[in-house]
C-alpha cells in the first residue's frame, strides 16, 4: 500500500501517511489525530473513516480499541441549514 497515495479521510483528503505520522509523532488518540489533521472532521462526520482511524491508531499504539467511542458523535448528526435550525421545515442539507 502506498501510504501517501492512500486517502483515509475522503472528505478532507487526509492520507494514511499523514495519519500514521501524526500518531507516531504525538503517540496520540483518534480524537487527537482528528484535531491535528482534520481526518474525520469533514462533511460526513467521520462516518466513512472513523473505523479506519480507530484501527490505525490502535495498531500503532498497540492498544485494543476502547469501549468508549473515541471520535465522539455530536449533533447535528446530519448537516443542517440555519433555516431548519430556526424552525423552517424541509430544507435539509444545504450549506
Amino acid at each position: 500500500m502506498s501510504d501517501e497515495k492512500t486517502i483515509v479521510c475522503r472528505c478532507e483528503e487526509i492520507s494514511f501517511q499523514t495519519i500514521s505520522d501524526t500518531v507516531r509523532e504525538y503517540s496520540c488518540s483518534s480524537r487527537e489525530v482528528k484535531l491535528r489533521t482534520r481526518a474525520g472532521m469533514g462533511y460526513c462526520g467521520g462516518r466513512t473513516c472513523r473505523h479506519m482511524i480507530d484501527t490505525i491508531v490502535a495498531g500503532i499504539n498497540q492498544e485494543p480499541i476502547a469501549d468508549e467511542i473515541q471520535l465522539s458523535y455530536r449533533p447535528p448528526a446530519r448537516p443542517l441549514t440555519f433555516g431548519v435550525l430556526g424552525g423552517m421545515q424541509h430544507d435539509n442539507e444545504s450549506r
Binding site: 483528503e13 460526513c44 466513512t48 442539507e93 444545504s94
Partner: protein, 107 residues
C-alpha cells in the same frame, strides 16, 4: 446508452416507468420516475457527480445509502442534497459542486 437492468432472472421484468427529463450541469438526461438522482445519472453512464473542494478531483457515489455524503450535488440555486437519497422530478436542475479557487470563488 442505458445501464438499466430490464430483465432479471429472479426479480422479473422492470415495470414500465414514466420517463422524465432532468438536467445535470445544463445537459438534459432521460430519467425514470422513482429514480434517485444518482441512479438516474448512473443509468446514463454518468459517474462523476462533483469535484472535491480542495483538490478538484472527481467524486461519485460511494455508499449509495446516505452515509458518506460523497454524492452531494446542488439542486436549483442553493440546496445541497445527497444524490443517492433524492428522488428525481421532471425538470429538476442538478449541478456539480466544484473546487474552490483562491479568493473564495468557485470555478
Amino acid at each position: 446508452m442505458t445501464m438499466r437492468v430490464v430483465n432479471h432472472p429472479v426479480l422479473g421484468k422492470l415495470p414500465e416507468q414514466n420517463r422524465i427529463t432532468i438536467r445535470f450541469n445544463g445537459q438534459p438526461y432521460e430519467a425514470y420516475e422513482g429514480d434517485t438522482i444518482a441512479s438516474a445519472l448512473m443509468a446514463q453512464g454518468v459517474k462523476t457527480l462533483r469535484k472535491h473542494e480542495m483538490s478538484g478531483e472527481g467524486r461519485g457515489i460511494y455508499c449509495n445509502i446516505g452515509h458518506c455524503f460523497e454524492c452531494r450535488v446542488q439542486v436549483g440555486d442553493r440546496k445541497v442534497v445527497r444524490a443517492c437519497l433524492t428522488p428525481v422530478s421532471e425538470g429538476i436542475e442538478i449541478h456539480s459542486l466544484t473546487a474552490f479557487v483562491k479568493g473564495g470563488q468557485t470555478k
